[in-house]
């Protein structure tokens, strides 16, 4: 299951959904908003997503992970809207029979999500400027 939300992510609640009597391992990843990027002081981050395709593509990634690592349970939640420093922007959790698969599957999912989902983030800097991440020309014109 993958879901987009404007509400605060509740990792503990999400983790419970992965409990499985056959699982001996759980691995979770939380992406947090940090206060700096590439030498700029960052005040907050604004996330925009095209939800219909973010969900479709996200489900594909979870299905790929389940195919690579049998008996895997995997969930993901991604925030949209304005986020403050320290907030959780993305949560990925997996459970599986053994830890190797759990570590690898979690890593696979977050790495793929970052490069495939139609999600964009705009950094708001302390100097009053802002810029879209991964977009050099845009940052220059901001």
């Amino acid at each position: 299951m993958i879901r987009m939300t404007t509400a605060e992510i509740q990792p503990e609640e999400l983790r419970r959904q992965l409990f499985d009597p056959a699982a001996g391992a759980y691995c979770g990843f939380e992406g947090w908003i940090r206060n700096h990027n590439e030498g700029h002081e960052v005040l907050r981050l604004e996330y925009e997503a095209y939800e219909p395709l973010a969900i479709t593509e996200g489900e594909k990634i979870l299905a790929e992970a389940r195919e690579r690592y049998p008996h895997l349970k995997a969930h993901c939640v991604h925030r949209t809207g304005m986020l403050e420093i320290g907030e959780c922007a993305v949560w990925v959790g997996v459970s599986s029979p053994h830890r190797d698969e759990a570590f690898h599957a979690c890593r696979y999912i977050i790495d793929q999500l970052k490069v495939r989902l139609p999600i964009w983030k705009k950094e708001h800097y302390a100097d009053g400027h802002s810029g879209w991440v991964n977009c050099e020309r845009c940052a220059k014109s901001a």
Binding site: G31, Y47, E48, A49, Y50, P52, L53, A54, E57, H78, A89, V90, I110, L113, K114, V115, R116, L117, P118, I119, W120, K121, K122, W132, V133, N134, C135, R137, C138
Partner: protein, 80 residues
């Protein structure tokens, strides 16, 4: 000429000043539509690290477009 609805996201939307517009374009592929919007909005972002979808399905730049299609232009993504 084909009537194509184009949807812009994130920095593309800010650059175009609109989220969506319907254009009459001489286009065979998604790349042709992208280049037409670049001429229209004087944008120079290379397509290499951008993505495109047609009618809510992820596509390639050489995917053909048809009359009435909606082409979604995605600037470089940055989730997580």
């Amino acid at each position: 000429m084909k009537t194509i609805t184009v949807r812009y996201f994130a920095m593309f939307r800010e650059h175009a000043g609109v989220g969506e517009e319907t254009l009459s374009v001489d286009a065979e592929t998604a790349a042709d539509v992208f280049h037409a919007t670049q001429d229209r909005h004087r944008s120079t972002e290379p397509s290499g690290h951008c993505k495109v979808a047609i009618n809510d399905v992820m596509a390639d730049w050489d995917t053909p477009v048809s009359e009435g299609d909606t082409v979604l232009l995605f600037p470089p993504v940055a989730g997580g």
